[in-house]
Symmetry: C2
Subunit: 720 residues, 2 copies
């Protein structure tokens, strides 16, 4: 399986940088969308030509209005379509014939209304494909490009945002209105602002492809309700965040976090996997910072867009108030930062510039009556300290505080240093002139210390991500033919549950370390095989009809001698004999008893949309009680396998607590990577549970004690 | 031990409602605090008499200035002291002699500077006690009472807040400035605003006592860095939140959440207990809503202050944008709310008032072009639905949205209904006229749906708290004398670790169910006692020097017959013999082997400040890996014991997952209550670990398998 199937590379130049735009459905009625958009295009100062099209009007806003596309005397770059949905397909076709290289369909009335709308949308897609014309929408707010060489507001927003280095993609058109108003209030600028609508043709992948090379964009924000392709998304984001320089951080809200009703699933892995966990996995693998709210999205964005990444996690806090200093400290620790320990020389210097009542150890308290000189002296001293990676400056509006002057001091500090500087002027009214100075000069400002600390924490995490070891997907030497044979036999028999011996053979073919095992079908055989393996042994019934072999008494553990083995076998045979429905008894599996180790579970569940998804967690009852498991889309790299193991909350148990030796984490990782390869090689496998995998101390390996594999011949992944 | 030792009831009438105020240290210099305060008092419109005192001035702001307190021709109610710290004690004494019934000391330079400051503060306290004069501060911002009958701004704030029904107490003076500015921006009003300063005399308990009966206060907010007395705090808050009507919710930030370096502790309980966990326990027991940030504090406050509590957790969301509707749904579920299922008749009615493209199932989407008529129709329809307990109204500023009219519609809805209505107008600039209308009319407004949902979640949790079953602290019949005997023997021998048999005798005296056990000191005895108890048995070495009996091979499990018992005993004796330091070997404890059950841990650790703190968690390695434990201050009520058990993350294991039977939770609770009684009765016990307590299925009881008790004769709780 190829790591990534990238979408066809499409030029979106005419979408974002058109020289001429036809607005089909331009209107004179102020309450019409076609009026708002034309107005926005003109007011936004679009640098190209605008051709309003409306058969019922001669001119709009003083511009000549064409009765049809054909009447336009020149060719057009971009068609902006705002006509009733039923006429959209014909207008789109006409536009393409007129030479349009891109189209935006604002009109609603497609898939979202069902029935006829679905058909109309299919028509739109067909025309787009036929004419190779990239189409944004339908059912969207439009697109804004603030680049002054183009200055396009092809949307019906109330506001044209300030130019900036942040691109925003939204799958909700209505949210765009709120975002633009919020950004206006916070002085936040955008490079591109795109409402994706129904994603009939162009989707987030096309936009990311474009934004990757967009020199005006440094940070990408997304509001998503779904992804068109998880695997491609991961690979494309990894390029944008890691393989171009400078890296462009991507922040996303994925709404619909509410756990879906658990789907019917036969495996542990399946029952533990909700759609939200899959998205978490995708974002973690891709290096996307997932946020919970619009507020967090923009809090983070202004940090990433305006400040360098911190080179480490050591923060110094400078404040004129003790309480907020403590709150900042609490928050820094909570978000994975450390309070910097200042050099003695720094503290010495602080003592010469601050009054004796000040607090000289981090958080530095310049005391309530501090004015800008004191802030300046303190800030310029601590910023030089080699133990400081980042600064948070807090101000509370005391009676003596010269708020604007202090803001200016911070702005000039920010210009001089390559360490990130975040600020928090607490309050709203009195602090606002200072906040304005900060915002206008691209110094990130937060109303509360917690928000500044959380942002810095995210910047630090992202910096760690950019520094992660680059590993590859390993290709293990496996006996794929042996696995194929087992699988095709099972598929021929139309059996979806593999017997334990079949599962074991597949895992063996893929190089998993197994407990020694043998099949046996008679008293003589069970005794000789048990002797061969060595006592004590376990005995497990083998039958494709007995999925829950434990429940029917089909598992006997810790058989210590020949007598016990013989008795156990007789019991198993008896159990079979009294079962009412005739079952296909294939004998028993004799297995070495595992010596005690830590039990973990590895699994795979094939998602109809995203393909094979791997799971890892500690075994036993805690998996269910705590849902302490991690997921990743296959294939995984070595680093991904490591992160899966490290990310469970009970990781400390594997690392070894109470003086216990660490577990063989390297071998768990290898099993996860082998599971990844197995899952990718065999799309006919729909679910795998390796439960438990027994893990011994570092260097002592792991062993599969039990496994269950389920095949589904007719999945859409059946033909790889 | 009495449940509560309340502070002496003190009248704070002269502090909050003085008829006359002397300002000692009033100043003519605009940069002086004594200037700002006098200015604030006058500008705030204080209804009583003001006597500025300053030997160097004749008049300030046109008012006659007295050269000393003695010169004032009348008696004074409140002394406001702003003189250098060294003269504060003498001025305080003079004020008291002049008849002042209360004092506020603004001046800094006390405990916070160490050395001489500590002495000065002790003097202040001495004078306060001697003259029975309640003193606020020192080192504080002052106090504000917005009640128009008094209108006192006795602080050096930049702002006099609007009158409202929220009281605010702060242990950080500097934070007050930020809070007042924030509240001004959000149109939030206060009843009382108090800067506690160093809490030398008056502290949070006195303030709560006063606010409990303050008719102007409906909600109490606190910023705390410590508590003077946890137990009294709990009882007082329980009165305020539960025993007066209407209940006054209390919200608190406790800063310094960062875990302290783990203290050296001999018990599990001690090592798992950080100071922050203790505060969490206190707030949970008291019914205080602990919040993480100032933003959350005020988000919650405006909900509690302006809206009724929801009668259930079923929310309806009305929005003009799909995306934010999904985000609100996600957030509601995250914060413990449910999306209301509307009656078919409600949906039918919605269909008659909304366009067909609207979404009629919750969240109700009135669609982007909705104006106030449509909001009005939708809101008045859903508010009548009996399945709806609360409403969240979302607006995004679309081109057509008549924001102010919609705000007015919501205000009038809010006046008619007794269900809570929270709003979210997303954005900043365009939405602000609407937000202003909402705020001025006491309809809580949030910038993002998550904040509205989180607030409603807190209001629902609080409503659940007010409805909790009222239980008492049980008094079990115990053999306190037997426990006393064991303890005093140990104390006489200066031994701090009790042997296991001693621990068992104490637990037995307090009615804990134990596994059958016997002491034995010879081969004959171990065999006869083992026979008496019945095989298999465990054997545990008994010696006050062998604390970690497991580590030295002093524990033998699952001894199945006389031979095994005999061998085990010989081994134990041999172990002792080769130990280099002579140890006091008291024999072995023979104990019945417990049949398998769920292992839990119960513990107590006596905090030097807060007294006995109880712990509960699941046993085994997970306790340490997950720190999945809960704490409560003793004594606990039955309800508190239940909450301890229910609050661990692995509670589902005790309730029974994977079809297992539920554990005997009632018996765990009883053990916690007995542990509470034991801890309160015997202050000489400093730590207890009951680990494990084996728990069987419901109705089948529990059994203590092992326990460790540590005594400390000289703790400050040694004399109860």
């Amino acid at each position: 399986m190829k790591l990534s199937v990238k979408p066809e590379k499409r030029t979106l130049k005419s979408l974002f940088e058109p020289k001429s735009i036809a607005i089909i459905g331009a209107s004179r009625r102020p309450e019409a969308v076609g009026y708002a958009i034309l107005n926005n295009l003109i007011a936004g100062g679009f640098k190209g030509k605008i051709f309003p099209v409306n058969p019922k009007a001669d001119e709009i806003f003083g511009a000549h209005c064409f009765s049809s596309l054909k009447e336009i005397p020149e060719t057009i770059d971009l068609a902006l379509i705002i006509v009733p949905s039923t006429t959209v397909p014909s207008i789109l076709k006409e536009s393409a014939e007129k030479g349009a290289q891109a189209a935006i369909i604002i009109s609603a009335g497609f898939r979202e209304i069902g029935g006829e709308g679905i058909k109309l949308e299919a028509e739109v897609k067909k025309i787009a494909d036929e004419f190779h014309i990239p189409v944004l929408g339908p059912n969207c707010l439009g697109m804004i490009n603030t680049d002054p060489s183009f200055a396009i507001n092809a949307s019906f927003s109330r506001t044209m945002p300030r130019a900036g280095n942040i691109a925003f993609l939204s799958q909700s058109g209505a949210l765009c209105a709120a975002i633009l108003d919020y950004a206006k209030g916070k002085n936040i600028g955008f490079s591109k602002f795109v409402s994706l609508g129904n994603k009939t043709d162009l989707n987030e992948l096309d936009m990311l492809q474009y934004l990757k090379n967009d020199s005006k964009t440094d940070v990408i924000l997304m509001y998503l309700e779904d992804l068109v392709n998880g695997r491609v998304f991961i690979d494309m984001v990894r390029e944008i965040t890691g393989e171009i320089s400078p890296s462009k951080p991507i922040l996303a809200i994925k709404s619909g976090r509410t756990p879906q009703g658990a789907k019917a699933a036969s495996s542990h892995t399946g029952s533990l996997m909700g759609s939200d966990e899959v998205y978490d996995a995708i974002f973690a693998q891709a290096g996307v910072l997932r946020v919970d709210s619009v507020e967090e999205l923009f809090n983070f964005a202004i940090g990433f867009a305006n400040q360098p990444l911190p080179q480490g996690n050591r923060v110094v806090v400078v404040t004129n108030a003790g309480g907020p200093g403590i709150m900042a400290t609490d928050a820094c620790v909570r978000y994975g930062l450390e309070m910097a320990t200042l050099e003695p020389s720094t503290i010495q210097k602080l003592k010469t510039v601050l009054p004796p009542t000040a607090n000289f150890s981090n958080p530095i308290d310049v005391i309530g009556d501090a004015q800008h000189e004191r802030y300046e002296a303190a800030l310029h001293t601590v910023v030089e300290d080699p133990n400081v990676d980042a600064l948070i400056v807090i101000l509370t509006p005391q009676a003596m505080t010269d708020i604007e002057e202090i803001a200016k001091v911070i702005v000039s500090l920010d210009r001089k240093t390559n360490k990130p500087v975040l600020t928090c002027f607490m309050g709203i009214v009195d602090v606002s002139p200072g906040v304005k100075i900060l915002e206008e000069n691209y110094v990130p400002h937060y109303s509360f210390p917690e928000d500044a600390a959380r942002t810095l924490g995210a910047m630090h995490r992202y910096q760690q991500w950019t520094l992660r070891p680059r590993t590859d997907v390993k290709k293990f030497q496996v006996d794929a033919k042996a696995a194929d044979k087992v699988l095709s036999e099972s598929l021929q028999k139309q059996l979806s549950f593999l017997c334990i011996d079949e599962s074991m053979r597949i895992l063996q073919a893929y190089g998993f370390p197994l407990l020694p095992w043998q099949m046996a079908g008679s008293i003589e055989e069970v005794i000789s095989k048990a002797r061969e393996i060595g006592f004590p042994v376990a005995m497990k019934i083998v039958s494709p009809q007995l999925i829950h072999k434990f429940d029917v008494g089909g598992v006997k553990l810790n058989l210590k001698n020949e007598k016990e083995v013989e008795d156990a076998y007789r019991e198993v045979v008896q159990t079979i004999a009294v079962k009412p429905p005739k079952i296909d008894f294939r004998g028993v599996l004799i297995q070495a008893m595992a010596r005690k180790g830590q039990e973990v579970i590895l699994g795979m569940n094939r998602d109809p949309h995203f393909g094979p998804i791997l799971m890892f967690g500690l075994g036993g009852i805690y998996v269910e009680a705590l849902k302490d498991v991690t997921f990743r889309l296959a294939p995984i790299r070595e680093y991904g396998a490591r992160r899966m193991v490290e990310s469970i909350r009970t990781y400390s148990i594997l690392k070894g607590i109470r003086g216990q030796k660490p577990s063989d984490i390297q071998k768990i990782m290898e099993c996860l990577e082998r599971l990844s390869q197995l899952s990718c090689d065999h799309p006919e496998i729909s679910e795998i549970d390796i439960n438990p995998l027994i893990v011994y101390s570092e260097g002592e390996g792991v062993a599969v004690a039990d496994a269950r594999i389920i095949v589904a011949p007719n999945t859409k992944f059946g033909a790889a």
